[in-house]
Amino acid sequence: MIDKQTLKPIIEVKGLGTYFSGLWVHKNLNLTIYPDRVITIIGASGCGKTTLVREILMLQAITEGQIFLSGEEISKYNIEEPSTKIVLSKVGMMFQLGALFSSMTLLDNVIFPLKEYTDFSRGTMRDIAILKLKMAGLPENAFYKYPKEISPGMQKRVALARTLALDPKVVFLDEPTAGLDPNSASDFDELISNLQQQLHLTIIMITHDLDTIWSISDEIVYLGDKRVLFHDSVKKASECRDIPELYEYFNGHRGSILKKTYLKYGDTI
């Protein structure tokens, strides 16, 4: 692991509390994320993973505490205010179902954020969008298709290309491999880790796919009991006996098979 002393955190969450209709979703949640790695947030359903991500993305207001993005306190901004747009362009989010604009071609989907934020010429925006689509592994003959006309795996690739259109430093992925067949899922894992290494992205994902976790994750953040219970490498997470649920997550019937394989062969798979 990289020496944390020399790096500045890209995301810092301090004493976060979220209160929803008579219920604390988070209470005194602290989380520090350093750049240039893949972090996976796991936890039982309803433990507030998506809420946490939505709060960092300023899609949802927090009740108490602070959130910093690159040292800037974003939690003090008004969510409704348009000036927060510029901050938001530094983070990207890929939604679970892709959330592609169904009335635009794939190319226009990727051009869209460029058109909103930049004043490049049309040709330039098109070139950049084509580049992003190709980097995401989309075949050229599909550029002028509509989202409905392509497979879910392809839709995810386009969604990733659109997310990367403005070169965000932090990319959030919500269930990137859910609903994909094993081949597409492992291709997509490879694509994510490839892009992460080349563009030095910080990737934060929510996933239940143990294959994805073992193959591309650098760190695990385990949410439970309204706060972060565990934050370390995947290997340590799989050996942590202090938190029974987390241990079960990696050493249950499904988990143990994968754990053995990945620990045995390491990075060679």
């Binding site: 890209i10 690159s70 930049t118 010429s121 580049l131 190709k134």
Partner: protein, 384 residues
């Protein structure tokens, strides 16, 4: 790639700069090469006026940070220089930047022709396609109409199997909620019509004939038509949007896999509901419009209420009213069927629902007016 600046200063970044030193023939790239800091027009203008030597050095040592957009521009600059036959003897960029440039080159489109958008039709082709589309829609509509009647007979064989809850819901939505708008507008139209015609009747001293006029115009023509148009706008549109949304969410397909007929389950209840609601609304709208007419007759034409009612009983035939109600059944059928047909035509995206809803309302109103004209001829021949 993101050098020191990456963790600091989200907003404050130095714009991308290009400086050419002609004494050493070196092109210096400086500043941050991010999408947010690159001014494309300014850079192009700057590069175009530089008088390059034949052999230059590109020095990117003082670049503060780049993203893929920045790399795209640097690559474009290098390609542009190559096209101008300017050789680059030295390219001082970091290893990461060089790798990214290579990646951009790897991902360059080889055959431009492969990503040309689908050609839009020429004028003649568009006309041809339009005609074929209309023809296709008519065939579809006929098909739909046929299926509908087959299902009507199935329904008549076992009427208790139908989804009566849905019928009641449709009657509530189309009828009870729609009756207020329809009666208010009919009342106003009745009053306005009487008011506009008043001077004509007064001129000839034929004040009492206003009753004959209103009786025929409102009961036979205006109220049924107005009500049908309002229902087409309210209920027709909502039927299309509802069925369209269900289509997009694959609910229709789900029903079919369960072996349940869409016609029986979704369309028939709506048609029955609308056909019950519209004649009822029309009857109420008839009353509202006559009330509006009577009030104006009383105040502007001094035809008092008892005289109005007496004249109506003697001179306005019941057939005027029945013709209006019969027409309203036909209008209801048109609105419901067109609404359902357009709803089923929705194809999987959000635009399509809006498109089909518009079509449903427009086609509904057009067909209602056509149908009204045909009825006028038929009833005339029948002497009603």
């Amino acid at each position: 790639m993101y050098k020191e600046s990456s963790n600091q200063d989200l907003i404050k970044e130095i714009p991308a700069q290009i400086v050419y030193d002609s004494t050493t023939a070196t092109l210096y790239l400086a500043g941050s090469w991010f999408w947010s800091t690159i001014n494309e027009k300014k850079l192009i203008k700057l590069v175009k006026v530089i008088d390059f030597a034949n052999n230059i050095i590109i020095d990117g040592d003082s670049i503060e940070g780049v993203d893929t957009t920045g790399i795209y521009f640097i690559e474009r600059l290098i390609t542009w220089l190559a096209q101008k036959n300017i050789t680059i003897s030295q390219l001082r960029l970091s290893a990461d930047e060089q790798k990214l440039i290579q990646r951009i080159r790897d991902n360059r489109v080889k055959e431009k022709s492969s990503i040309v958008p689908l050609k839009s039709d020429s004028f003649l082709a568009a006309i041809g396609r339009g005609v074929f589309d209309i023809f296709g829609s008519l065939v579809d509509l006929l098909d739909f109409f046929g299926q509908f009647w087959v299902n009507v007979f199935k329904f008549l064989r076992s009427p208790f199997d139908a989804d009566w809850d849905e019928v009641v819901r449709t009657i509530r939505d189309a009828g009870i909620k729609g009756v207020w708008v329809a009666s208010l507008l009919s009342f106003l139209i009745g009053a306005t019509l009487a008011y506009q015609m008043a001077p004509q009747f007064i001129t000839y001293g034929a004040n009492v004939y206003i009753v004959n006029f209103l009786g025929i115009a409102l009961l036979k023509e205006v109220s049924p038509l107005l009500t049908a148009v309002i229902v087409a706008g309210r209920t027709g549109a909502s039927i299309t949007a509802e069925i369209g949304t269900r289509k997009v969410q694959e609910e229709i397909d789900a029903l079919q896999t369960m072996g349940i007929s869409t016609m029986q389950r979704i369309i028939l209840p709506k048609v029955i509901g609308v056909m019950v609601a519209v004649p009822l609304i029309t009857a109420i709208a008839d009353m509202a419009s006559m009330l509006g007419g009577a009030i104006v007759s009383n105040s502007a034409l001094s035809v008092n209420y008892s005289l109005f009612i007496a004249r109506m009983q003697t001179y306005v035939a019941v057939s005027n009213y029945t013709v209006g109600i019969i027409k309203s059944f036909a209008f209801a059928l048109i609105v419901a069927l067109v609404g359902c047909f357009c709803g089923l035509k929705v194809k999987g995206n959000a635009n399509s629902i809006g498109e089909q809803t518009t079509k449903s309302v427009v086609a509904g109103i057009i067909l209602i007016v056509f149908c009204d004209a045909i009825f006028a001829v038929i009833f005339n021949v029948l002497g009603l």
